[in-house]
């Protein structure tokens, strides 16, 4: 075992270590937000041999299985925090143990930095499957280095250890995939730099290079890069994130490689003292930066993923607050905005208070290019179920199942759609699959009991809300938002969400003709005209010289008419001067449909680089 754990003089530090671990637990509980991690990195897992067997046929399968298993701890927050604390402590101990083998003196600060950086990356950017192989390889290297140090000057022991370690690299490669690179790499650095055994060092380099190739005869992997890097981070990230992940992945090997320089500088009488001081300050700044990042990311969440997490938990108001802060007009942020507003009954009143641009694809996330993205398949299933398109929702739940496996959310969705479609036996299958996920047995058992007593779950409020909106006509083809929403209304004219989404679609595409066709339905849904509908009606009249047919007594209020006149007056003062108009209108009218109609976007959203008018006058069309 490594020295750090075995030296008796350190035994007295156990209470201190325990206290530190308790503080770490509290800190991780507060800063890591494990339920959010479950939302970001929830992966499929089931108990039993058949599920494990799926991971046995390829290199890195066992560590992927372990990652899936440990990721389930995220679903039970206290357990997830416990796991993360253990991982944090183990990472710290491992990094400290390895670095002390290279660098003379204590290495607490760099080890702490590494462990904290790991948490930062785990919180938002990397799933466990990208972390564990690295840590597994490092753990093997730590063990190897510790054993090699203990067997100094005992040639037979050394030789046996070396042979065993090299011999075990094939199973280690099978277990950890790319983690072998860490193991072989750190072992080689140790032999070359710390022990100055060139032959052994090169043996490790050759082992790292040859084993993945040789193992591909047993477990064929077509990609050369994947053979060496299986499960190491290989996805595309924005530059800043890529740098952070790069630092995490190379920190320990780089420190080991640079250890001769560091040691020389540390031991130099002239520079030693000042270097130590500088290093401590730099380390302190780095740690403070990481802590600051953790705090900021806890309190100042402004990414759509967090809003998505809130939406997934039906926390609509919180989601809207988050989205308002984000000021993001990406389609995913807009999708979440539409859905949250619709669930709160605020869509036709407030949609232009949030960042919008002239496109309705975000309503149903209908752009075909997104189909292969797992997040999009889940979200499509959600919105289509909201609209009562149960078959479409099932389709996208199937796509999610194919892409992500049996996660709790997907299995619950498949249970719901099968109950709605009158297939209780299939619903039972998906519930039983849910019951094989740790921490979900109880929920599955209760739902199964309910299903057995009432196969249609006729007392379930969520299902009962969807049932009237379910389609009864078979529509084939057509994935444009307008036809999807019109079909919903044909089947259930009282489908309010479909109606409001259709209005939103026409407003977002400045389709006044389409909007006008819905005017006759306004009295079916509202006692008072919603704000954006009033605004659009005025634009309609401006463009067509009359109110849309069927509007009956519904009219915009005199106050709204006055505001519209004020808008037009200002607009006509500077026709063809978008920058001037923008400044003139943004304060009083930035959140109106009129503003959106002429600029093709709302005032909310990122500051535009180039302003153009998409319409010469309100209602002029794009």
């Amino acid at each position: 075992m490594p020295d750090i754990l075995l030296q008796p003089r350190q035994a007295r530090r156990i209470p201190v270590a325990g206290l530190c671990a308790a503080i770490a637990y509290g800190g991780i509980w507060f800063f890591m937000d494990v339920p959010f991690m479950a939302h970001c990195f929830g992966v499929s897992f089931q108990t039993g041999w058949p599920f494990f067997k799926r991971f046995t046929g390829y290199v890195g399968g066992p560590i992927e299985y372990l990652s899936c298993l440990l990721s389930q701890t995220y679903y039970l927050p206290w357990f997830g925090v416990l796991f993360l604390t253990a991982l944090f402590v183990a990472t710290y101990a491992m990094a400290s143990g390895i670095l002390r083998s290279f660098i003379h003196g204590k290495c607490r600060l760099p080890a702490l930095f590494f462990a904290l950086l790991l948490l930062v990356v785990m919180k938002r950017y990397l799933p466990l499957v990208n972390i564990l192989p690295m840590l597994g390889g490092m753990a093997m290297a730590w063990l190897y280095i510790a054993l090699r140090r203990r067997s100094l000057n005992r040639r037979w022991v050394e030789a046996t250890l070396l042979l065993c370690a090299v011999g075990l690299s094939a199973p280690i490669y099978y277990l950890f995939g790319g983690g072998l690179l860490y193991f072989a790499g750190l072992a080689a650095i140790f032999e070359l730099i710390a022990r100055r055994h060139a032959v052994t060092g090169f043996l490790w380099i050759i082992t790292g290079a040859v084993v993945p190739q040789a193992m591909s005869y047993l477990f064929f992997e077509p990609g050369w890069a994947a053979r060496y890097l299986r499960w190491l981070p290989d996805q595309e990230y924005v530059t800043g994130v890529a740098v952070v992940i790069g630092v995490l992945c190379t920190f320990v090997p780089a420190a080991a490689l640079l250890s001769p320089v560091i040691n020389r500088l540390r031991e130099s009488r002239q520079t030693g003292q000042s270097l130590r001081y500088t290093a401590r300050v730099a380390g302190g700044i780095a740690l403070a930066t990481l802590c600051g990042f953790m705090i900021l990311s806890r309190f100042g969440r402004k990414d759509w993923m967090y809003a998505d997490f809130l939406v997934a938990n039906n926390r609509w108001e919180e989601s809207l607050t988050c989205l308002q802060k984000m000021n993001d007009d990406s389609d995913m942020a807009r999708y979440l905005t539409f859905r949250s507003l619709a669930h709160r009954g605020r869509l036709p009143w407030e949609m232009f208070r949030f960042p919008q641009r002239r496109s309705s694809e975000a309503l149903l996330l209908s752009s075909p290019g997104w189909e292969i993205l797992p997040r999009v398949t889940n979200r499509r299933s959600d919105i289509l179920l909201d609209l009562g398109r149960v078959n479409d929702s099932e389709r996208w739940a199937h796509e999610s199942l194919a892409a992500q496996g049996e996660t709790p959310a997907i299995l619950e969705r498949l249970f719901v759609v099968n109950v709605l479609n009158g297939r209780p036996d299939a619903a039972c299958s998906f519930l039983r699959a849910l019951g094989k996920i740790p921490f979900k047995e109880e929920k599955a058992r209760k739902l199964l009991a309910r299903l057995e007593s009432d196969p249609s779950l006729s007392d379930d409020p969520v299902l009962q809300a969807i049932r009237p909106s379910m389609l009864r006509t078979d529509y084939v083809g057509g994935w444009d938002p307008e036809s999807v929403l019109r079909q919903c209304l044909e089947n259930n004219p009282a489908n309010r969400m479909a109606f409001e989404y259709l209005v939103a679609h026409y407003l977002l595409t400045s389709n006044m003709k389409g909007f006008g066709t819905l005017a006759a339905r306004f009295p079916d849904f509202y006692y008072v005209l919603p704000t954006h509908m009033e605004e659009a009606l005025l634009v309609y009249r401006q463009a067509n010289g009359a109110w849309p047919p069927g509007l009956e007594d519904f009219r915009p209020t005199p106050e709204m008419e006055r505001r519209f006149r004020a808008f037009l007056t200002r607009f006509m003062q500077h026709p063809g001067e978008p920058a001037t108009l923008w400044n003139l209108l943004i304060g009083d009218f930035g959140n109106t449909y009129w503003f959106f109609d002429v600029f093709g976007r709302t005032a909310a959203g990122a500051t535009p680089a180039n302003l153009t008018l998409t319409s010469k006058q309100p209602g002029g069309g794009p």
């Binding site: 046929g57 047993l218 292969i372 078959n391 479409d392 194919a402 498949l414 299958s429 084939v476």
Partner: protein
């Protein structure tokens, strides 16, 4: 040494406790009669089973702390098995012996359960029959999530039916970066694995037909022959192992908003035959007519005719009207000459659409599926298995059909067993079912492929398709197969030497093809 005494005493206490409260494999003679059959899952009652099948482990869905099952036949001692929580796991060796001793006779299963009040209840005896004829030892199938448009993990697996051993034939991570490859429609020559083929669709390594002949793996690119630019889809090996009939299909998935949501549109398809020794592709206008869609090739047992399904070209807007006829065309393997096609089952008369014809090894029966429309029966709840008697020309639906999709059937070598994929257990996920097919042409009540864990299927969220019975294991490993598939420099490019019909094919439907899912 000092601890031995306490350890031994503790062990004795535990043993005694287990003996008093445990669930022992002893038949409770004092059990009271429940007066009804037991509820079993899977339903292994009233079935005919092969003498070489693995233990039919099952769960008794009755409130019970302990369950005891007694298996008995005319010969040999009864086999008594007990289990907790209703699960009965039969030991393989005595099971095999019992089946062997009672080949062709009845297998009686008595079940008793002990309730919470420690009272035993006995159910009516379940009577099964052990057939004299064995089933082929292996079944090869595709196992994957219920796919709509996207796929990710998928594989073809082989299962030893005499044990519970399952292993991969090929998984898509073996031939595609990030699992973006698709593999489908494996086919064997005369239920033997020495000659087999499967179809690959990979962004990185193309869409070759992969042919395994006597241990040699070959990539065959059929798209450059001049016959069709579409990749091969369904394969059918000739019984002589020298040629493979295949279809080229332009299939796209689409959705319904009511009922089963999945469906498939085959925009255009033709048939051809790949001659292995000559490395040529041949066809005749009767099976490659641009005015019609020909698909689902299948050779007769004597190899002297080719069954296929054919439908007129109809635009996608009328997809409900697309119904395939069951056809047959004579073929002379020695000369390669084709005869005149013959209509066996007309869709006009049946009102249904034919797919997947398979002739029995004795040549008397043609087993195929009929569905309301189209040619993808696995997505059609109304798809049923039908039997055409070649001697009398009579057509009938099999009694074993369910309310859900029954399709993807295959004969055993001796013609006494059929395996098929059925969604009868819920309507969404298909499982392989076996049915005894007797000499009178009667298919007996089917049973699902046994699993070691009786609750295996209850929580399975994957679906089986293309179950094919074979006599032995696939002779190449997944790694070897994967490596051969990725060796693009060894691809064969056969030339098209046959004839095909003239004219334009179907116009584009505008539908998208299947594609791999992204992300991880």
């Amino acid at each position: 040494m000092m601890l031995r005494g306490p350890i031994a005493a503790t062990g004795m206490v535990v043993l005694l406790g287990l003996t008093l409260t445990g669930c022992r494999p002893e038949w409770p003679d004092s059990a009271t009669d429940a007066g009804r059959p037991p509820k079993l899952y899977p339903d292994y009652s009233g079935i005919v089973i092969p003498p070489n099948i693995a233990p039919l482990n099952f769960s008794v869905h009755e409130p019970a702390g302990c369950v005891v099952a007694r298996f008995s036949g005319q010969q040999g001692a009864p086999l008594v098995v007990s289990g907790r929580r209703g699960a009965i796991r039969i030991p393989p060796r005595p099971w095999r012996e019992l089946l062997e001793q009672n080949r062709g006779n009845k297998l009686l299963v008595d079940i008793a359960v002990r309730d919470a009040g420690r009272i035993w209840h006995r159910f009516q005896t379940v009577t099964n029959r052990i057939a004299a004829e064995p089933v082929d030892r292996y079944v090869v199938y595709r196992l994957l999530p219920p796919i709509d448009h996207l796929w990710r993990k998928m594989g073809i697996y082989q299962r030893d039916l005499e044990t519970f051993h399952e292993q991969a034939v090929l998984e898509n991570q073996s031939f595609s970066y990030d699992r973006n490859g698709c593999l489908n429609c494996h086919s064997f020559s005369a239920n033997r694995t020495g000659r087999m083929s499967l179809q690959i669709r990979s962004k990185s390594f193309g869409k070759p037909m992969v042919v395994i002949r006597d241990g040699t793996i070959t990539r065959v690119d059929t798209t450059t022959s001049g016959f069709s630019k579409m990749a091969a889809a369904y394969h059918a090996w000739h019984p002589d192992g020298q040629r493979i009939a295949f279809s080229v299909n332009k299939v796209s998935p689409f959705e319904h908003t009511v009922g089963e949501h999945r469906d498939v549109w085959d925009n255009d398809s033709d048939l051809a035959v790949y001659l292995l020794d000559k490395d040529e592709i041949t066809a005749t206008p009767a099976i490659a007519d641009p005015a019609r869609r020909e698909t689902w090739p299948s050779w007769s047992a004597d190899g002297k005719s080719l069954y296929f399904c054919s439908a007129a070209q109809i635009p996608f807007e009328r997809f409900y009207d697309v119904k395939y006829d069951l056809m047959r065309i004579p073929y002379d393997p020695s000369t390669g000459e084709w005869g005149r096609p013959e209509m066996l089952v007309s869709s006009t008369h049946s009102g249904l659409s034919a797919a997947q014809p398979r002739e029995s090894p004795d040549g008397r029966w043609v087993l195929f599926s009929l569905s309301p429309h189209g040619n993808f029966p696995i997505y059609q709840p109304g798809s049923d298995l039908y039997l055409l008697d070649r001697t009398t020309g009579t057509l009938r639906s099999l009694d074993i059909n369910s309310e859900w999709s029954d399709s993807w059937h295959c004969w055993s070598r001796n013609g006494r067993w059929i395996v098929f994929a059925s969604k009868r257990d819920g309507g969404v996920l298909a499982k392989p079912y076996f049915s005894y097919f007797d000499t009178h042409g009667v298919a007996h009540k089917p049973f699902v492929m046994p699993q070691e864990d009786p609750a295996f299927y209850e929580s399975l969220a994957l679906t089986y398709n293309v179950p094919e019975l074979v006599a032995e294991e696939v002779p190449v490993s997944p790694a070897r197969l994967g490596r051969a598939i990725c060796s693009t420099n060894t691809t064969l490019h056969p030339a098209f030497t046959g004839q095909k019909g003239e004219g334009k094919g179907a116009p584009e439907s505008g539908l998208e093809e299947w594609q791999p899912a992204g992300g991880r």
